[in-house]
């Protein structure tokens, strides 16, 4: 069963470029050059019920805009979207009761109040039985290890505690479709881990359809079973996390220390150039050339230390995005798909 589908969904923003200086600001009172910026190029997608999708891209790639379009926060400039059979922009109360969006950089609970009071209001808004709502809050707070902070004003909580409270607020009405935008942004490693583990347990038990964006690839690799890579408003990869890593070459990092550094620049088996005097080497290579490279280096000098590591998922994504950005810069043609 398909829960989310889009057809040529597009969003364009109108901006204007203001030249610097007072005179130009005065001129801007009557003459402004308006520009159109495409945040999301025509996008056709379908996401099945219960699927966990990791949406990854650099800043300004269009991730949050896509989530805002799917949750009905903003209207599309073209194309259409259906979430749970509803057009998101209709803001049908029945639709809004079945979805939730968490914007990691914005407070959605009330700043002046303790979260417990906010949840009470949310229970009224979502028409949840108050006793049931309190029981859900207790359960979620225990899992997130934040029961102690339920009666402390939101403004007095740390960033990590606030995020946990926001997550409880987003899940209180047990949404069928969940959009999480950077739920772990800016948090320390302990809070990140707690939230990540909580989400892993939650999605396993409740099976919501989830679209998750994050700059931390651990979030994506742990939770997502499908990966969408977005670059400059276009989806450039759509497949499983495992497939992505496999298709983006099986790369490894070779680290070693030469006993006798070369006295002149040397080409190592045609794969990279080693500068004169270099003792410590760390290179990322395709797994099938590691043997040739090692042989070439060992013929050059005895090797003191040697380490071969799998490349992290995060590094694979990073190099893919860099490659995509370079391709886009050199040509206006769409990037090749992995």
């Amino acid at each position: 069963m398909i829960n989310i589908e889009t057809e040529n969904l597009t969003r364009t923003y109108e901006t204007y470029r203001k030249p610097e200086g007072l005179l130009k600001s005065i001129q801007g009172l009557w003459a402004r050059k308006v520009e159109q910026k495409v945040a999301v190029h025509p996008t056709t997608l379908s996401i099945a019920k219960g699927e966990i999708v990791g949406l990854v891209g650099s800043n300004g790639a269009g991730k949050t805009t896509l989530l805002k379009l799917l949750s009905g926060l903003i209207h599309p400039s073209g194309g259409s979207a259906k979430v749970l059979g509803y057009a998101p922009t209709s803001r049908d109360p029945e639709f809004l009761k079945r979805i939730s969006i968490l914007l990691g950089q914005k407070n959605q609970l009330w700043w002046d109040l303790p979260p417990a009071d906010s949840y009470d209001l949310l229970a009224r808004i979502y028409e949840i039985n108050p006793i049931e709502a309190r029981s859900r809050v207790r359960e979620l707070a225990e899992l997130l290890q934040c029961s102690e902070q339920l009666h402390v004003q939101l403004r007095r909580l740390s960033l990590g505690e606030r995020m946990k409270m926001e997550i409880i607020g987003a899940l209180l009405h047990q949404p069928e479709v969940l959009f999480l935008d950077e739920p772990t942004i800016g948090l320390d490693i302990i809070a990140q881990t707690t939230i990540r583990e909580f989400l892993a347990t939650y999605v396993k038990e409740r099976k919501p359809t989830l679209i998750l964006t994050s700059h931390y690839m651990d979030d994506i690799s742990l939770l997502a079973d499908r990966l969408l890579l977005i670059s400059q408003g276009s989806i450039v990869y759509d497949g499983s996390v495992e497939e992505f890593v496999a298709k983006a070459e099986n790369r490894q990092t070779l680290s070693l220390k030469l006993l006798n550094p070369p006295t002149t620049d040397v080409s190592i088996a045609g794969h990279f150039q080693l500068e004169a005097g270099t003792r410590n080497i760390k290179v990322e290579l395709a797994a099938n050339v590691i043997g040739d490279v090692l042989q070439a280096l060992m013929s050059l000098s005895p090797v003191q230390e040697i380490k071969i590591e799998e490349v992290e998922f995060e590094d694979v994504i990073h190099s893919f995005m860099q490659q995509d950005a370079r391709m886009r810069a050199s040509s206006s043609a769409p990037a090749a798909r992995v």
Partner: protein
């Protein structure tokens, strides 16, 4: 909407000193300032009456006008609505099954009920202390009209806030609007002492239900029929401005880019 009214009350009760200043200090200070102005006017003019009403009547009108006008304006919530759209915090309302109109109307009413209930002490105390004419049995109906008028105030706030989708920063429009409304509501002076044709125009507009009608009725200058006419005039105002607010809101929503998140 009751939940939103409760939210406003909880938020106000959270900051005790601010609430005290809002509900006690301000009404007393404003009441005393208005009374002093009218005292100075009568002392310097040497007149004992103006348009058939004596000095004590005008002091009472000034006192209650200052109080009622505080009830029938919405600086704070209008500013919050504008800010929500400007900064994108409106997102937290848009993703929930509640309308922006209902969310803020509930809060406005909750805030006004709480603060009015507490601050009523100020004009009543001053009236008794200065022995000014007032018919407190008329207070419920006068306040009912004022609170009904608040819905119109909120509709106007919706219109102004919706303009934020198009112009981003529009706080000064609120200031300009409120200054205009001060003139039209009868806060400065009883509207029926204005010369014709201004008198007929000003009293026919729904804005007269903000101050002039309820205070005139409360101080026994106007009969009860003016209150009923006030309800009718506000209803017409709602019928005219309501669709404008809905139109602007919907058009603005289509332009909205979900700023800042």
């Amino acid at each position: 909407m009751l939940g939103c009214a409760r939210l406003a009350a909880l938020q106000q009760l959270e900051y005790r000193f601010n609430l005290l200043a809002d509900t006690m200090i301000q009404p007393f200070v404003v009441g005393l300032v208005e009374i002093t102005l009218w005292m100075a006017f009568f002392a310097s003019s040497g007149q004992a009456e103006l348009a058939g009403f004596g000095r004590e009547y005008y002091l009472s009108y000034a006192l209650w006008a200052a109080f009622i006008s505080r009830v029938s304006t919405s600086w704070m919530y209008e500013s919050l609505m504008i800010q929500d759209i400007e900064l994108g915090t409106v997102n937290s309302v848009l993703v929930r099954p509640i309308s922006f109109f209902e969310y803020y109307l509930g809060q406005l009413m909750g805030y006004k009920v709480l603060t009015t209930a507490i601050s009523l002490m100020a004009p009543i105390t001053l009236c008794l202390f200065l022995d000014l004419p007032v018919s407190l049995s008329r207070l419920p109906l006068a306040l009912a009209l004022t609170f009904y008028y608040l819905i119109l105030v909120h509709v106007i706030s919706m219109i102004i806030a919706s303009l934020g989708f198009f112009f981003t920063r529009i706080h000064h429009l609120t200031v300009a609007k409120n200054i205009t409304l001060w003139m039209l509501t009868g806060e400065f002076f009883p509207l029926d002492i204005a010369p014709e044709p201004f008198k007929s125009i000003l009293t026919a507009l729904p804005f007269s239900s903000a101050v002039f009608r309820p205070v005139g009725y409360l101080t026994e200058r106007l009969p009860v029929s003016t209150i009923y006419e006030g309800f009718l005039s506000v209803t017409i105002g709602l019928l005219v401005l309501g669709p404008v607010a809905a139109l602007l809101w919907n058009a603005g929503r289509r332009r909205y880019s979900g700023t800042g998140a």
